[in-house]
Subunit: 226 residues, 2 copies
Amino acid sequence: MLNELCLPVGMSHNDVIKLDELIKERIRLSKGSALFHLGDHAEAIYAIRSGSIKTQLEDATGQVQITGFLLPGELIGMDGLLNYEQTSHAIALEDSEVCVMRLEDMDRLSMHMPSLQQQFRRLMSKEINRSHRLVMSLGSLRSEQRLAAFLLNLSHRLSALGYSSTDFILRMSREEIGNYLGLTLETVSRLFSRFAREGLIRIQQREIKLLDYQALQALSGSDCGD
Amino acid sequence: MLNELCLPVGMSHNDVIKLDELIKERIRLSKGSALFHLGDHAEAIYAIRSGSIKTQLEDATGQVQITGFLLPGELIGMDGLLNYEQTSHAIALEDSEVCVMRLEDMDRLSMHMPSLQQQFRRLMSKEINRSHRLVMSLGSLRSEQRLAAFLLNLSHRLSALGYSSTDFILRMSREEIGNYLGLTLETVSRLFSRFAREGLIRIQQREIKLLDYQALQALSGSDCGD
DNA sequence: CGCATCGTTGACATAACTCAACGGCTGTGG
DNA sequence: CCACAGCCGTTGAGTTATGTCAACGATGCG
Protein backbone atom coordinates (compact mmCIF):
# COMPACT_ATOMS: atom_id res chain seq x y z
CA MET A 1 0.00 0.00 0.00
CA LEU A 2 2.90 2.32 0.66
CA ASN A 3 3.67 4.67 -2.14
CA GLU A 4 5.84 7.70 -2.41
CA LEU A 5 3.51 9.30 -4.91
CA CYS A 6 0.99 9.76 -2.13
CA LEU A 7 3.33 12.00 -0.26
CA PRO A 8 3.51 15.74 -0.22
CA VAL A 9 6.44 16.85 -2.29
CA GLY A 10 9.34 18.07 -0.20
CA MET A 11 8.92 15.77 2.79
CA SER A 12 11.96 14.05 4.25
CA HIS A 13 12.21 10.31 3.78
CA ASN A 14 11.82 9.91 7.52
CA ASP A 15 8.46 11.61 7.53
CA VAL A 16 7.42 9.67 4.50
CA ILE A 17 7.72 6.41 6.36
CA LYS A 18 5.55 7.74 9.16
CA LEU A 19 2.88 9.02 6.86
CA ASP A 20 2.77 5.76 4.98
CA GLU A 21 1.42 4.16 8.12
CA LEU A 22 -1.60 6.38 7.79
CA ILE A 23 -2.58 5.28 4.35
CA LYS A 24 -4.78 2.24 4.53
CA GLU A 25 -7.12 3.03 1.73
CA ARG A 26 -7.15 4.52 -1.73
CA ILE A 27 -9.99 5.88 -3.79
CA ARG A 28 -10.27 5.88 -7.56
CA LEU A 29 -12.13 8.76 -9.14
CA SER A 30 -13.29 8.93 -12.72
CA LYS A 31 -13.16 12.23 -14.55
CA GLY A 32 -15.87 14.58 -13.33
CA SER A 33 -16.74 12.62 -10.19
CA ALA A 34 -16.50 14.07 -6.69
CA LEU A 35 -14.18 13.02 -3.88
CA PHE A 36 -16.53 14.85 -1.56
CA HIS A 37 -19.23 17.50 -1.64
CA LEU A 38 -19.95 20.55 0.45
CA GLY A 39 -21.61 19.43 3.68
CA ASP A 40 -20.17 15.91 3.67
CA HIS A 41 -18.82 14.65 6.94
CA ALA A 42 -15.05 15.23 6.98
CA GLU A 43 -13.14 12.47 8.69
CA ALA A 44 -10.02 12.32 6.56
CA ILE A 45 -7.72 14.30 4.38
CA TYR A 46 -6.60 13.10 0.99
CA ALA A 47 -3.31 13.04 -0.88
CA ILE A 48 -3.49 12.89 -4.63
CA ARG A 49 -1.66 9.88 -5.99
CA SER A 50 -2.38 10.43 -9.66
CA GLY A 51 -4.50 12.74 -11.75
CA SER A 52 -5.72 16.18 -10.79
CA ILE A 53 -8.58 17.58 -8.75
CA LYS A 54 -10.26 20.97 -8.44
CA THR A 55 -11.75 22.31 -5.22
CA GLN A 56 -14.59 24.77 -5.32
CA LEU A 57 -16.77 26.72 -2.93
CA GLU A 58 -20.44 27.25 -3.61
CA ASP A 59 -22.55 29.92 -1.95
CA ALA A 60 -26.26 30.05 -1.18
CA THR A 61 -27.06 31.40 -4.64
CA GLY A 62 -25.23 28.55 -6.38
CA GLN A 63 -22.34 30.79 -7.39
CA VAL A 64 -19.15 28.76 -7.62
CA GLN A 65 -15.55 29.78 -6.91
CA ILE A 66 -12.71 27.41 -7.69
CA THR A 67 -10.03 27.70 -5.00
CA GLY A 68 -7.45 25.27 -6.31
CA PHE A 69 -6.25 22.83 -8.94
CA LEU A 70 -4.41 20.08 -7.10
CA LEU A 71 -1.71 17.83 -8.52
CA PRO A 72 -0.15 14.53 -7.36
CA GLY A 73 1.49 14.84 -3.95
CA GLU A 74 -0.79 17.66 -2.87
CA LEU A 75 -3.34 17.47 -0.05
CA ILE A 76 -7.08 18.04 -0.12
CA GLY A 77 -9.62 18.49 2.64
CA MET A 78 -7.85 20.66 5.20
CA ASP A 79 -10.60 23.26 4.93
CA GLY A 80 -13.10 20.72 6.23
CA LEU A 81 -11.45 20.21 9.62
CA LEU A 82 -13.07 23.19 11.34
CA ASN A 83 -16.32 21.41 12.13
CA TYR A 84 -15.54 18.08 10.52
CA GLU A 85 -17.75 19.07 7.65
CA GLN A 86 -16.58 19.81 4.12
CA THR A 87 -16.88 23.44 3.09
CA SER A 88 -16.03 22.79 -0.55
CA HIS A 89 -16.48 20.33 -3.37
CA ALA A 90 -13.55 18.29 -4.68
CA ILE A 91 -13.99 17.12 -8.26
CA ALA A 92 -11.61 15.12 -10.44
CA LEU A 93 -10.45 16.89 -13.60
CA GLU A 94 -9.36 13.53 -15.05
CA ASP A 95 -9.34 9.94 -13.87
CA SER A 96 -7.48 10.15 -10.57
CA GLU A 97 -6.50 8.25 -7.48
CA VAL A 98 -6.20 9.59 -3.94
CA CYS A 99 -4.81 8.19 -0.70
CA VAL A 100 -7.00 8.45 2.38
CA MET A 101 -5.54 9.60 5.70
CA ARG A 102 -8.09 9.24 8.47
CA LEU A 103 -8.09 11.85 11.20
CA GLU A 104 -8.45 9.28 13.95
CA ASP A 105 -5.38 7.47 12.68
CA MET A 106 -3.49 10.74 12.51
CA ASP A 107 -4.45 11.61 16.05
CA ARG A 108 -3.42 8.20 17.32
CA LEU A 109 -0.10 8.21 15.52
CA SER A 110 0.84 11.77 16.27
CA MET A 111 0.48 11.10 19.99
CA HIS A 112 3.70 9.09 19.79
CA MET A 113 5.26 11.11 17.01
CA PRO A 114 5.44 14.81 17.68
CA SER A 115 7.08 15.34 14.32
CA LEU A 116 3.96 14.12 12.54
CA GLN A 117 1.78 16.84 13.96
CA GLN A 118 4.47 19.41 13.31
CA GLN A 119 4.66 18.21 9.75
CA PHE A 120 0.92 18.43 9.39
CA ARG A 121 0.90 21.89 10.90
CA ARG A 122 3.39 22.94 8.25
CA LEU A 123 1.19 21.51 5.51
CA MET A 124 -1.82 23.44 6.77
CA SER A 125 0.30 26.57 6.91
CA LYS A 126 1.27 25.91 3.31
CA GLU A 127 -2.37 25.75 2.37
CA ILE A 128 -2.98 29.11 4.07
CA ASN A 129 -0.08 30.59 2.11
CA ARG A 130 -1.39 29.15 -1.12
CA SER A 131 -4.73 30.75 -0.54
CA HIS A 132 -3.15 34.07 0.45
CA ARG A 133 -1.19 34.16 -2.79
CA LEU A 134 -4.40 33.59 -4.69
CA VAL A 135 -5.93 36.51 -2.80
CA MET A 136 -2.98 38.64 -3.81
CA SER A 137 -3.36 37.57 -7.42
CA LEU A 138 -7.08 38.36 -7.46
CA GLY A 139 -6.73 41.58 -5.51
CA SER A 140 -3.64 43.14 -7.03
CA LEU A 141 -2.86 41.76 -10.48
CA ARG A 142 -4.30 42.56 -13.87
CA SER A 143 -5.72 39.79 -16.01
CA GLU A 144 -2.57 39.19 -18.05
CA GLN A 145 -0.48 39.05 -14.89
CA ARG A 146 -2.84 36.59 -13.27
CA LEU A 147 -2.78 34.26 -16.24
CA ALA A 148 1.01 34.46 -16.60
CA ALA A 149 1.44 33.72 -12.89
CA PHE A 150 -1.01 30.85 -13.19
CA LEU A 151 0.95 29.25 -16.03
CA LEU A 152 4.27 29.68 -14.24
CA ASN A 153 2.84 28.20 -11.07
CA LEU A 154 1.58 25.13 -12.95
CA SER A 155 4.91 24.83 -14.74
CA HIS A 156 6.75 24.98 -11.42
CA ARG A 157 4.65 22.30 -9.77
CA LEU A 158 4.71 19.96 -12.75
CA SER A 159 8.45 20.37 -12.99
CA ALA A 160 8.80 19.38 -9.31
CA LEU A 161 6.92 16.19 -10.19
CA GLY A 162 9.43 15.38 -12.90
CA TYR A 163 7.34 16.53 -15.83
CA SER A 164 8.38 19.07 -18.42
CA SER A 165 8.23 22.63 -17.19
CA THR A 166 7.54 23.95 -20.67
CA ASP A 167 5.18 21.45 -22.27
CA PHE A 168 2.06 20.30 -20.54
CA ILE A 169 -1.64 19.70 -20.80
CA LEU A 170 -4.14 21.98 -19.13
CA ARG A 171 -6.57 19.64 -17.44
CA MET A 172 -9.12 22.39 -16.87
CA SER A 173 -11.35 24.31 -19.27
CA ARG A 174 -11.05 28.01 -20.10
CA GLU A 175 -14.10 28.57 -17.98
CA GLU A 176 -12.49 26.86 -14.98
CA ILE A 177 -9.29 28.87 -15.39
CA GLY A 178 -11.35 32.03 -15.64
CA ASN A 179 -13.39 31.19 -12.56
CA TYR A 180 -10.22 30.46 -10.58
CA LEU A 181 -8.60 33.73 -11.66
CA GLY A 182 -11.69 35.91 -11.34
CA LEU A 183 -11.99 36.39 -15.12
CA THR A 184 -14.44 35.34 -17.80
CA LEU A 185 -13.69 32.47 -20.14
CA GLU A 186 -13.57 34.92 -23.05
CA THR A 187 -10.86 36.98 -21.37
CA VAL A 188 -8.81 33.84 -20.74
CA SER A 189 -9.22 32.74 -24.33
CA ARG A 190 -8.21 36.16 -25.65
CA LEU A 191 -5.18 36.27 -23.39
CA PHE A 192 -4.01 32.85 -24.56
CA SER A 193 -4.38 34.04 -28.14
CA ARG A 194 -2.48 37.23 -27.37
CA PHE A 195 0.31 35.43 -25.52
CA ALA A 196 0.64 33.13 -28.53
CA ARG A 197 0.67 36.08 -30.97
CA GLU A 198 3.41 37.71 -28.90
CA GLY A 199 5.50 34.55 -28.89
CA LEU A 200 5.23 33.88 -25.16
CA ILE A 201 3.48 30.54 -25.55
CA ARG A 202 2.18 28.14 -28.11
CA ILE A 203 -1.28 26.79 -27.44
CA GLN A 204 -3.49 24.34 -29.22
CA GLN A 205 -6.61 23.53 -27.28
CA ARG A 206 -5.31 22.36 -23.91
CA GLU A 207 -1.81 21.56 -25.06
CA ILE A 208 0.48 24.38 -24.03
CA LYS A 209 4.15 25.14 -24.58
CA LEU A 210 5.87 27.95 -22.72
CA LEU A 211 8.19 29.59 -25.23
CA ASP A 212 9.46 32.60 -23.27
CA TYR A 213 9.67 31.78 -19.58
CA GLN A 214 11.46 35.01 -18.69
CA ALA A 215 8.94 37.23 -20.41
CA LEU A 216 6.16 35.42 -18.55
CA GLN A 217 7.97 35.98 -15.28
CA ALA A 218 8.40 39.67 -16.06
CA LEU A 219 4.71 39.89 -16.90
CA SER A 220 3.55 38.13 -13.76
CA GLY A 221 5.67 40.29 -11.48
CA SER A 222 8.28 37.54 -10.95
CA ASP A 223 5.98 35.84 -8.50
CA CYS A 224 5.47 32.28 -9.60
CA GLY A 225 4.12 31.09 -6.30
CA ASP A 226 4.10 27.46 -5.21
CA MET B 1 -1.80 36.31 33.32
CA LEU B 2 -4.79 34.22 32.31
CA ASN B 3 -7.40 36.10 30.44
CA GLU B 4 -10.41 35.02 28.48
CA LEU B 5 -9.99 37.86 26.06
CA CYS B 6 -6.93 36.16 24.67
CA LEU B 7 -8.95 33.18 23.59
CA PRO B 8 -10.40 32.44 20.22
CA VAL B 9 -14.10 33.07 20.34
CA GLY B 10 -16.15 29.89 20.40
CA MET B 11 -13.77 27.70 22.38
CA SER B 12 -15.12 25.56 25.19
CA HIS B 13 -14.17 26.57 28.72
CA ASN B 14 -12.19 23.37 29.01
CA ASP B 15 -9.96 24.25 26.11
CA VAL B 16 -9.62 27.75 27.41
CA ILE B 17 -7.95 26.50 30.56
CA LYS B 18 -5.47 24.50 28.52
CA LEU B 19 -4.61 27.35 26.23
CA ASP B 20 -4.11 29.67 29.14
CA GLU B 21 -1.13 27.57 30.16
CA LEU B 22 0.48 28.57 26.90
CA ILE B 23 0.32 32.26 27.44
CA LYS B 24 3.35 33.45 29.35
CA GLU B 25 3.88 36.72 27.64
CA ARG B 26 2.00 39.65 26.21
CA ILE B 27 3.07 42.32 23.79
CA ARG B 28 1.79 45.87 23.61
CA LEU B 29 1.69 47.48 20.20
CA SER B 30 1.17 51.14 19.52
CA LYS B 31 -0.86 52.21 16.50
CA GLY B 32 1.07 51.65 13.30
CA SER B 33 3.77 49.43 14.80
CA ALA B 34 4.44 45.89 13.63
CA LEU B 35 3.99 42.65 15.55
CA PHE B 36 6.24 41.03 12.99
CA HIS B 37 7.52 41.62 9.48
CA LEU B 38 7.87 39.44 6.43
CA GLY B 39 10.96 37.28 6.84
CA ASP B 40 11.04 37.39 10.65
CA HIS B 41 11.66 34.12 12.42
CA ALA B 42 8.29 32.61 13.39
CA GLU B 43 8.36 30.85 16.72
CA ALA B 44 4.94 31.70 18.05
CA ILE B 45 1.40 32.53 17.13
CA TYR B 46 -0.46 35.43 18.61
CA ALA B 47 -3.96 35.96 19.95
CA ILE B 48 -5.26 39.48 19.94
CA ARG B 49 -6.27 40.60 23.42
CA SER B 50 -7.34 44.11 22.56
CA GLY B 51 -7.23 46.41 19.57
CA SER B 52 -7.04 45.37 15.93
CA ILE B 53 -4.33 44.29 13.54
CA LYS B 54 -4.00 44.00 9.77
CA THR B 55 -1.95 41.35 8.01
CA GLN B 56 -0.49 42.04 4.60
CA LEU B 57 1.59 40.28 1.99
CA GLU B 58 4.23 42.13 0.03
CA ASP B 59 5.70 40.90 -3.24
CA ALA B 60 9.09 41.51 -4.81
CA THR B 61 7.88 44.72 -6.44
CA GLY B 62 6.68 46.16 -3.13
CA GLN B 63 3.05 45.67 -4.04
CA VAL B 64 1.00 45.07 -0.91
CA GLN B 65 -2.11 42.95 -0.38
CA ILE B 66 -3.97 43.07 2.91
CA THR B 67 -5.25 39.59 3.76
CA GLY B 68 -7.06 40.29 6.99
CA PHE B 69 -8.26 42.69 9.65
CA LEU B 70 -8.08 40.83 12.96
CA LEU B 71 -10.11 41.54 16.09
CA PRO B 72 -9.77 40.50 19.73
CA GLY B 73 -9.88 36.74 20.17
CA GLU B 74 -8.55 36.06 16.69
CA LEU B 75 -5.20 34.44 15.88
CA ILE B 76 -2.29 35.75 13.87
CA GLY B 77 0.78 34.06 12.48
CA MET B 78 -0.45 30.69 11.27
CA ASP B 79 0.81 31.46 7.79
CA GLY B 80 4.36 31.63 9.12
CA LEU B 81 4.54 28.02 10.31
CA LEU B 82 5.51 26.50 6.98
CA ASN B 83 9.20 27.28 7.30
CA TYR B 84 9.11 29.07 10.63
CA GLU B 85 9.44 32.32 8.78
CA GLN B 86 6.79 35.00 8.54
CA THR B 87 5.29 35.40 5.06
CA SER B 88 3.36 38.53 5.94
CA HIS B 89 3.50 41.72 7.96
CA ALA B 90 1.23 42.22 10.98
CA ILE B 91 0.59 45.86 11.81
CA ALA B 92 -1.56 47.36 14.56
CA LEU B 93 -4.45 49.53 13.35
CA GLU B 94 -4.73 51.04 16.82
CA ASP B 95 -2.98 50.58 20.14
CA SER B 96 -3.31 46.86 20.76
CA GLU B 97 -2.19 44.01 22.93
CA VAL B 98 -1.52 40.42 21.90
CA CYS B 99 -0.89 37.20 23.80
CA VAL B 100 2.10 35.12 22.73
CA MET B 101 1.79 31.35 22.31
CA ARG B 102 5.19 29.81 21.68
CA LEU B 103 5.36 26.85 19.34
CA GLU B 104 7.69 24.93 21.61
CA ASP B 105 5.26 25.27 24.48
CA MET B 106 2.42 24.18 22.23
CA ASP B 107 4.34 21.12 21.12
CA ARG B 108 5.23 20.20 24.68
CA LEU B 109 1.71 20.64 25.97
CA SER B 110 -0.06 18.98 23.10
CA MET B 111 1.99 15.83 23.63
CA HIS B 112 -0.04 15.19 26.76
CA MET B 113 -3.22 16.80 25.50
CA PRO B 114 -4.44 15.47 22.20
CA SER B 115 -7.36 17.86 22.31
CA LEU B 116 -5.04 20.83 22.14
CA GLN B 117 -3.62 19.84 18.80
CA GLN B 118 -7.06 19.01 17.52
CA GLN B 119 -8.23 22.41 18.63
CA PHE B 120 -5.31 24.06 16.92
CA ARG B 121 -5.95 22.08 13.77
CA ARG B 122 -9.48 23.43 13.78
CA LEU B 123 -8.23 26.98 14.14
CA MET B 124 -5.89 26.56 11.19
CA SER B 125 -8.75 25.13 9.17
CA LYS B 126 -10.77 28.18 10.11
CA GLU B 127 -8.02 30.39 8.77
CA ILE B 128 -8.06 28.46 5.48
CA ASN B 129 -11.81 28.94 5.26
CA ARG B 130 -11.48 32.63 6.00
CA SER B 131 -9.01 33.02 3.19
CA HIS B 132 -11.15 30.96 0.81
CA ARG B 133 -14.12 33.21 1.45
CA LEU B 134 -11.98 36.21 0.65
CA VAL B 135 -10.99 34.52 -2.61
CA MET B 136 -14.65 34.00 -3.40
CA SER B 137 -15.39 37.63 -2.64
CA LEU B 138 -12.55 38.86 -4.85
CA GLY B 139 -13.23 36.39 -7.63
CA SER B 140 -17.00 36.39 -7.84
CA LEU B 141 -18.55 39.51 -6.34
CA ARG B 142 -18.97 43.00 -7.72
CA SER B 143 -17.64 45.97 -5.80
CA GLU B 144 -20.88 46.82 -4.04
CA GLN B 145 -21.35 43.19 -2.99
CA ARG B 146 -17.82 42.99 -1.65
CA LEU B 147 -18.22 46.09 0.46
CA ALA B 148 -21.63 45.03 1.78
CA ALA B 149 -20.22 41.60 2.70
CA PHE B 150 -17.25 43.27 4.35
CA LEU B 151 -19.46 45.44 6.54
CA LEU B 152 -21.70 42.53 7.51
CA ASN B 153 -18.69 40.41 8.35
CA LEU B 154 -17.29 43.12 10.63
CA SER B 155 -20.69 43.60 12.20
CA HIS B 156 -20.97 39.88 12.86
CA ARG B 157 -17.58 39.60 14.51
CA LEU B 158 -17.98 42.73 16.62
CA SER B 159 -21.36 41.51 17.74
CA ALA B 160 -19.81 38.19 18.85
CA LEU B 161 -17.43 40.24 21.01
CA GLY B 162 -20.35 41.94 22.69
CA TYR B 163 -20.18 45.19 20.75
CA SER B 164 -23.02 46.74 18.80
CA SER B 165 -23.68 45.03 15.50
CA THR B 166 -24.98 48.23 13.95
CA ASP B 167 -22.73 51.01 15.25
CA PHE B 168 -19.00 50.75 15.10
CA ILE B 169 -15.77 52.43 14.17
CA LEU B 170 -13.82 51.42 11.10
CA ARG B 171 -10.25 51.15 12.31
CA MET B 172 -8.85 51.08 8.78
CA SER B 173 -8.65 53.74 6.07
CA ARG B 174 -10.57 53.74 2.80
CA GLU B 175 -7.33 52.79 1.09
CA GLU B 176 -6.87 49.77 3.36
CA ILE B 177 -10.45 48.63 2.80
CA GLY B 178 -9.95 49.04 -0.94
CA ASN B 179 -6.71 47.11 -0.93
CA TYR B 180 -8.30 44.27 1.06
CA LEU B 181 -11.29 44.10 -1.32
CA GLY B 182 -9.34 44.54 -4.54
CA LEU B 183 -10.76 48.02 -5.17
CA THR B 184 -9.38 51.55 -5.22
CA LEU B 185 -9.94 53.93 -2.34
CA GLU B 186 -12.10 56.13 -4.57
CA THR B 187 -14.43 53.24 -5.37
CA VAL B 188 -14.78 52.47 -1.67
CA SER B 189 -15.50 56.11 -0.88
CA ARG B 190 -18.10 56.36 -3.64
CA LEU B 191 -19.79 53.16 -2.49
CA PHE B 192 -20.02 54.43 1.09
CA SER B 193 -21.59 57.62 -0.22
CA ARG B 194 -24.02 55.65 -2.37
CA PHE B 195 -24.98 53.26 0.44
CA ALA B 196 -25.64 56.31 2.62
CA ARG B 197 -27.69 58.01 -0.12
CA GLU B 198 -29.77 54.82 -0.48
CA GLY B 199 -30.37 54.63 3.26
CA LEU B 200 -28.41 51.43 3.84
CA ILE B 201 -25.90 53.01 6.19
CA ARG B 202 -24.98 56.27 7.82
CA ILE B 203 -21.32 57.14 7.68
CA GLN B 204 -19.28 60.01 9.02
CA GLN B 205 -15.57 59.54 8.59
CA ARG B 206 -14.89 56.17 10.21
CA GLU B 207 -18.01 56.06 12.30
CA ILE B 208 -20.55 53.81 10.65
CA LYS B 209 -24.13 52.83 11.42
CA LEU B 210 -25.83 50.01 9.57
CA LEU B 211 -29.39 51.17 8.94
CA ASP B 212 -30.75 48.38 6.74
CA TYR B 213 -29.14 45.09 7.64
CA GLN B 214 -31.45 43.05 5.42
CA ALA B 215 -30.81 45.15 2.35
CA LEU B 216 -27.08 44.77 2.93
CA GLN B 217 -27.49 41.02 3.20
CA ALA B 218 -29.50 40.93 -0.01
CA LEU B 219 -26.82 42.99 -1.71
CA SER B 220 -23.93 40.84 -0.52
CA GLY B 221 -25.58 37.59 -1.58
CA SER B 222 -26.52 36.67 2.00
CA ASP B 223 -22.99 35.56 2.68
CA CYS B 224 -21.75 37.37 5.74
CA GLY B 225 -18.89 34.99 6.34
CA ASP B 226 -17.08 34.66 9.68
C1' DC C 1 -20.78 10.14 -37.68
C1' DG C 2 -23.41 13.50 -35.33
C1' DC C 3 -24.17 16.22 -31.41
C1' DA C 4 -22.81 18.54 -27.33
C1' DT C 5 -19.27 20.88 -25.33
C1' DC C 6 -15.45 23.76 -25.65
C1' DG C 7 -12.81 27.42 -27.60
C1' DT C 8 -12.27 31.64 -30.57
C1' DT C 9 -13.28 36.06 -32.11
C1' DG C 10 -15.83 40.40 -32.85
C1' DA C 11 -18.67 44.35 -31.52
C1' DC C 12 -20.34 46.72 -27.92
C1' DA C 13 -21.39 47.93 -22.97
C1' DT C 14 -19.99 49.19 -18.47
C1' DA C 15 -17.88 48.75 -13.97
C1' DA C 16 -14.09 50.24 -12.00
C1' DC C 17 -9.78 52.89 -12.44
C1' DT C 18 -7.04 57.16 -13.03
C1' DC C 19 -6.12 61.78 -12.50
C1' DA C 20 -7.25 65.93 -10.40
C1' DA C 21 -9.11 69.31 -7.30
C1' DC C 22 -10.72 70.39 -3.01
C1' DG C 23 -12.40 70.27 1.82
C1' DG C 24 -12.10 68.67 6.46
C1' DC C 25 -9.93 66.12 10.32
C1' DT C 26 -6.25 65.29 13.33
C1' DG C 27 -2.39 65.52 15.66
C1' DT C 28 1.83 68.14 16.52
C1' DG C 29 4.80 71.71 17.85
C1' DG C 30 5.30 76.41 18.93
C1' DC D 1 -4.30 76.31 23.09
C1' DC D 2 -3.96 77.59 18.53
C1' DA D 3 -2.15 77.31 13.87
C1' DC D 4 -0.49 74.78 10.52
C1' DA D 5 0.82 70.71 7.78
C1' DG D 6 -0.14 66.41 6.28
C1' DC D 7 -3.12 62.94 5.72
C1' DC D 8 -7.62 61.31 4.71
C1' DG D 9 -11.90 61.42 2.45
C1' DT D 10 -15.04 63.13 -1.25
C1' DT D 11 -16.40 64.10 -5.74
C1' DG D 12 -16.09 64.95 -10.78
C1' DA D 13 -14.60 63.99 -15.60
C1' DG D 14 -12.71 61.09 -18.68
C1' DT D 15 -10.39 56.51 -19.78
C1' DT D 16 -9.84 51.68 -20.04
C1' DA D 17 -9.76 46.94 -18.81
C1' DT D 18 -12.77 43.52 -18.61
C1' DG D 19 -17.40 41.79 -19.08
C1' DT D 20 -21.50 40.67 -22.10
C1' DC D 21 -23.77 38.97 -26.01
C1' DA D 22 -23.51 36.67 -30.18
C1' DA D 23 -21.91 33.92 -33.99
C1' DC D 24 -19.10 30.49 -35.53
C1' DG D 25 -15.52 26.78 -35.72
C1' DA D 26 -13.15 22.85 -33.72
C1' DT D 27 -12.93 18.58 -30.80
C1' DG D 28 -13.94 14.60 -29.15
C1' DC D 29 -17.25 11.61 -26.97
C1' DG D 30 -20.83 8.22 -27.47
